[in-house]
């Protein structure tokens, strides 16, 4: 059941279209890259695909069914800034198990240590928090993951390790991944296909 966006268009101010006539589809297990210059609508497009905002025209569907609003959304979005994506008043353990309880294998794959669990979010670095965000989006019910500039703030070695672990799990569960980045070398390395936002294809 591929994730399909048909004829998507969106604007924030009337008639100033950020994206228009956008068609794209991701198959399960596929890794699609979204590239484009800053401000071209990459984040808007990924928020539409993940169901955070509904497009002004067009529709998003998985296997001909549109997304349900109230249930768990099978398309999960990982944000660029983990410090905004985590409630600062929760301990990391609560953050992690808000959607489901991950197994020890997944925690080991991302090198999340047991002693981080009882800390507050302010006591971890951005990269450590981002690993928690990745793990909590890997719910058993997740079918697609959109990684919006997921590793931009990390150094090259950590980036490589996180992507390796992340794509390994996605491949084994047949999860479709959309990688959003403006860094073409990263996209060329990771993706099966690359879609350029703002050029119509």
């Amino acid at each position: 059941m591929p994730l399909i966006g048909e004829n998507l268009g969106h604007y924030y101010q009337k008639d100033r279209w950020i994206i228009k006539d956008t068609n794209l589809s991701v198959a399960p297990g596929e890794v699609l890259g979204l590239s484009g210059y800053s401000g071209c609508g990459k984040t808007t497009l990924s928020r539409i695909l993940a169901g955070y905002i509904s497009p002004r025209i067009g529709r998003v569907s998985i296997g001909h069914k549109t997304l349900e609003r109230r249930a768990f959304r099978p398309v999960q979005l990982i944000y660029q800034h983990p410090e905004k994506a985590i409630n600062p008043k929760w301990r990391m353990r609560d953050v992690l198990i808000e959607s489901y309880t991950p197994s020890q294998d997944i925690l080991d794959a991302f090198e999340i240590r047991e002693e981080w669990m009882n800390r507050w979010p302010v006591e971890l670095s951005g990269g450590e928090k981002q690993r928690f965000c990745i793990v909590r989006s890997l719910n058993p019910a997740t079918k697609y993951i959109i990684a919006d500039e997921m590793t931009t703030m990390l150094d090259a070695i950590t980036q490589a390790r996180i992507w390796h672990a992340f794509l390994g799990i996605c491949k084994s569960r047949n999860i479709g991944v959309i990688v959003v980045s403006h860094e073409s070398s990263l996209l060329n390395r990771l993706c099966d296909n690359i879609y350029k936002v703002g050029s119509g294809g």
Binding site: A50, G51, Y52, R70, A71, F72, R73, Q76, L77, Y79, H81, K84, A85, I86, N87, P88, K89, W90, E98, S99, W120, P121, V122, E123, N139
Partner: protein, 277 residues
Amino acid sequence: MQGVQEGLNVRKKMILLLAFSSGFLLVILFLSFWLSNDNLRLSSAKNLAPNLEHLFGTDWLGRDMFTRTIKGLRLSLALGAFTSLLSVIIATLMGVCAATFGRTVDAVISWLIDLFIGMPHLVFMVLICFIAGGGVYGIVLGISLTHWTALARLVRSEVLQIKNVEYIQISKSYGKSAWFIARKHILPFIFPQLMIGFLLMFPHVILHEAALTFLGFGLSPQTPAVGIILSEAMSHISTGKWWLVVFPGVLLVGVIKSFDSIGEKLRILMEPSSANE
């Protein structure tokens, strides 16, 4: 930078202070039940300055001021706590509803807030108090129904500010219910404001209780309540009976201060950024 600390750390000191404040309040509460009502009878020992038998002296009817003050504080505290709680609950409900249920509800609640602020609230309180039949009941209803507005506005703006934060949107994408989000994400965020609102209501309630009683709509004059004691004592201060006003006043300030510090300490202890100090 802090080096290795010796002795108590900040957290332990805070817990000690917290225990001291709560202990102070508990002692007053305990004393108020322990002291006998007989001390409130009229006696021939009138207008005595503070001595060993009457720690706070006696008033012009021979009543023991220590007993009156402690019992009065208990009543005022209970009244203050209950009224503040009621108005904080109203404010939270109104504020959260205004911020989450769309424009129409927001407009209605904002209009209601403006209505309550626009009315002179003493008049409003007297009216509600009169309808409810005076007494403790009237005071609680009168004050709590007129004093939720400022806090409701604050809650509304706080909720509006946090409502579209990323971690709440993520929580929604996990299919969490509105109730879960309100309880786990929004309430902890507005809790400090609620706490401060609650504590600031306290002295307000005690003053208004005195005002209503003074106007004849509140408690009956023989009831020992701090407001009544203070307003009666004010008329005797010019004749040199300072003990009638000084001790109840000082104790009232002490009680309110300890409530304040309990609230403040709790807030700091719960704040994640100070968890290690």
